[in-house]
Symmetry: C2
Subunit: 113 residues, 2 copies
DNA sequence: TGCGTATTTTCCTTGCAGGTTATTTAACCA
DNA sequence: TGGTTAAATAACCTGCAAGGAAAATACGCA
């Protein structure tokens, strides 16, 4: 995944409405009207949120008559999580190294502080 | 973690400069000048990025003479990852249920399609 | 064809994010 | 005290994101 895609994914996740939509879609596919129902917001506004989610690959949409059911796609979610996970790994390594460094510089003749 | 904190954390992660800063800090603490060095950007701009990271708890800062070393804090990162993880769990459950439903409705007298 | 429902598009406003330069604050050093 | 370095703040500009209202589109149905 490119930097720009990661930008777009995290940006998409930075909005509470969009996270709520994802929450809802994790339970099953839904139409725009169904997704909009819980929000004090016009339909076009929700439609725009869906566009943001679609553009970064977090959801996909099909067509069934006039309906455009939305489906959660986890690839983008996976990529976002992977970035965090990789970072935590580096961070952990760093502390492992710090630990061993602290052990190394500890004079065995002196009582541990 | 509150919704607003999650908003702020994902928003902080949505910028490539800030993610690069986090990458760098995963290797060890650094001063503002050190962090700014790789970027084609003025120091105040980097300072603002650090403020964003600090406000949502992704980094903390101490004082050593004129320097304000930055340190990565993983609590906010953990929260962001947890949200994704929880969501994937719901999503997996949904597919497990769908699987068993498909098994249920399958007529045992007919050859599986 | 014409109507109803679902959804998107267009246009507009508002607010905020990210960048700049210039100035200020904070701390060390001579 | 005055000078230097590190960093933050202030003031400003630009662009874009989020929302609303109104109009357009897409499809099914009578």
């Amino acid at each position: 995944m490119t930097t720009a895609q990661l930008d777009a994914t995290f940006l998409a996740l930075a909005d509470p409405t969009r996270r709520a939509i994802i929450d809802r879609l994790a339970l099953g596919d839904a139409t725009v009207n169904e997704l909009a129902e819980p929000f004090a917001m016009t339909l076009p506004a929700v439609s725009k949120h869906l566009k943001v989610l679609e553009r970064c690959g977090l959801i996909s949409r099909s067509r069934r008559a006039q309906f455009r059911p939305c489906r959660l796609e986890t690839a983008a979610l996976d990529a976002a999580e992977s970035w965090i996970e990789e970072n935590r790994r580096l961070w952990s390594d760093r502390f492992d190294k710090l630990d061993s460094h602290l052990r190394d510089i500890q004079d065995p003749e002196e009582a541990p502080q």
